[in-house]
């Protein structure tokens, strides 16, 4: 047990568990966002509930740890794999049939998502939970900023009046879709929870989960953009 995480499968276990945890978070985040389409006051109530409370802060810390583990181990495994591939590259390569494009580009997709995450945290987290946190820690925060810290709908409107932001978010959602279509079933495969019959089933479930998550997010982005230009 002690040296489990030194083994190749142990390192992948970390990727798998952190990845599944992040998928659960995305499902929750998407469900929360969709509320903004149904009831703006309801969405703001959720934002208030998830402000700088101890439970929301604790959950944020766990989430951040999950994301950091996922990213760090992605690079650890990537460099291991680069070394294992050797320094001599093939002169001719061909992608065999049945090999998903996403499965061979998970790191590039991940880096794209990571870059988007910085932008996304700047757009929302820095204007909301971070402001409340700064206020709690006794730092100077304007009254206007504090008032807007739990007004999630304001920040959605503010962000998606810009066509550039809208396009960037949609591109990021496409990257997330590709990442999840491979990531979800791959995580279960790494856990050993797969067999001949279930491979195709899990791959289908992966596509469905990725599509639900990304369509939910995209709906909010696109609807708010359309409303802003009308």
């Amino acid at each position: 047990m002690a040296n489990l995480f030194c083994s190749s499968i142990g390192k992948k276990l970390i990727m798998s568990i952190s990845g599944l945890f992040l998928i659960l978070f995305l499902l929750f985040h998407m469900s929360m966002n969709v509320v903004a389409l149904i009831s703006e006051s309801g969405y703001n109530a959720i934002c208030e509930f998830l402000g700088a409370n101890w439970y929301a802060l604790a959950a944020t810390m766990v989430l951040a740890a999950g994301a950091v583990f996922h990213m760090v181990y992605a690079f650890v495994l990537f460099f291991n794999n680069r070394k294992a591939r050797g320094s001599d590259a093939y002169a001719v390569t061909a992608r065999p049939k049945h090999v998903e494009w996403a499965s061979q580009n998970m790191l590039v997709l991940g880096i794209t998502i990571g870059a988007f995450l910085i932008l996304h945290l700047y757009h929302f987290w820095a204007k909301m939970q971070l402001v409340e946190l700064q206020h709690m820690m006794g730092m100077h925060v304007s009254e206007e900023a504090m008032a807007l810290a739990t007004d999630g709908v304001h920040w959605i409107r503010h962000t998606f009046t810009s066509p550039i932001n809208t396009i960037l978010y949609v591109i990021a959602l496409v990257a997330i879709w590709f990442h999840l279509t491979h990531g979800f079933w791959s995580a279960l495969q790494t856990l050993g929870w797969n067999n001949l019959k279930w491979i195709k089933r899990w791959q289908t479930v992966s596509n469905v989960v990725a599509t639900i998550i990304c369509l939910g997010f995209a709906a909010v982005v696109v609807v708010y953009y359309i409303v802003s230009i009308m």
Binding site: S8, G10, N80, R85, A91
Partner: protein, 253 residues
């Protein structure tokens, strides 16, 4: 066979004098190749030609030439064992190519399989992995009754499918991570599925994975390129079984 059907080909072949030599591609032309000949027979024609010209023939691995020994290799036009599915290089027919084609022939490339000469790589790493657990210990004594231990048809079939792995190394060669997981998982599965193999199952999974890691093979990222290029169509479902066997064994430690 009419002259019209025969193939004239350009071959770009990797030539490397020794493990330390840098190596480079050499271009050769071969003509009048029968479309009914195998890829290795075409390589024989090339070598005859090179010997006649007083040149060093191309070194490549081969043995049974009927797809069961796992000796032949070759990365042909970006595919392990060539563009055909579920066949080894020795079973690949030249009818898969057209006259005038340029065929690029490379050795397996991975840190775990260093090149020895030309197209021959050192695959002894697989033997080392087998030596630490790819077996069932049997006590000496009388011959046991073959039917004493009942085995379900489903388990027997799945074990046989895993056992069809010939250890050629196409999985490592085609994996972007140079991972040997398909090979190790097939060897673990063929025994883990049978009652005789269960006794040493936990130790086997741990030892074989540890050896695989030690020998510098990469980590599986479930691209399934190995399964697509495997001449015996060994499924990545075996990799899930290996993960399960290994994780359960480690958790019990």
């Amino acid at each position: 066979m009419s002259e019209k059907q025969s193939l004239n080909l350009t071959l770009k072949v990797w030539r490397q004098k020794s493990p330390k030599d840098k190596g480079q591609f050499e271009t050769y032309s071969v003509s009048n190749i029968s479309p009914d000949s195998s890829f290795l027979e075409m390589m024989d024609v090339l070598n005859e030609q090179l010997i006649t010209e007083g040149k060093e023939p191309v070194a490549f691995d081969h043995d049974c030439r009927e797809g069961i020994c796992g000796m032949c290799s070759l990365y042909i036009n970006g595919h392990a064992h060539g563009p055909d599915e579920d066949v080894t290089t020795c079973q690949l027919h030249m009818r898969k190519f057209k006259t005038g084609d340029t065929i690029t022939i490379e050795p397996w490339r991975s840190a775990g399989f260093p090149v020895i000469k030309d197209l021959i790589v050192d695959r002894r790493a697989f033997d080392k992995i087998m030596a630490v657990g790819g077996f069932v210990s049997v006590n000496t004594g009388g011959v046991p009754d073959g039917n004493a231990i009942p085995i379900s048809k489903a388990a027997a079939d799945e074990a046989m499918d895993a056992a069809s792995c010939i250890g050629c190394g196409a999985c490592v060669a085609s994996c972007k991570n140079g991972s040997a997981m398909l090979f190790v998982s097939a060897k673990v599965s063929q025994l883990a599925l049978l009652p005789q193999g269960r006794i040493e199952a936990a130790r086997r999974a741990k030892n074989m994975v540890a050896k695989m890691d030690e020998l510098g093979f990469g980590n599986c990222t479930n691209t399934a390129a190995c399964e697509a290029q495997c001449p015996k169509n060994v499924s990545i479902a075996n990799i899930a079984r290996l993960n399960r066997e290994f994780l359960c064994a480690k958790l019990k430690d």
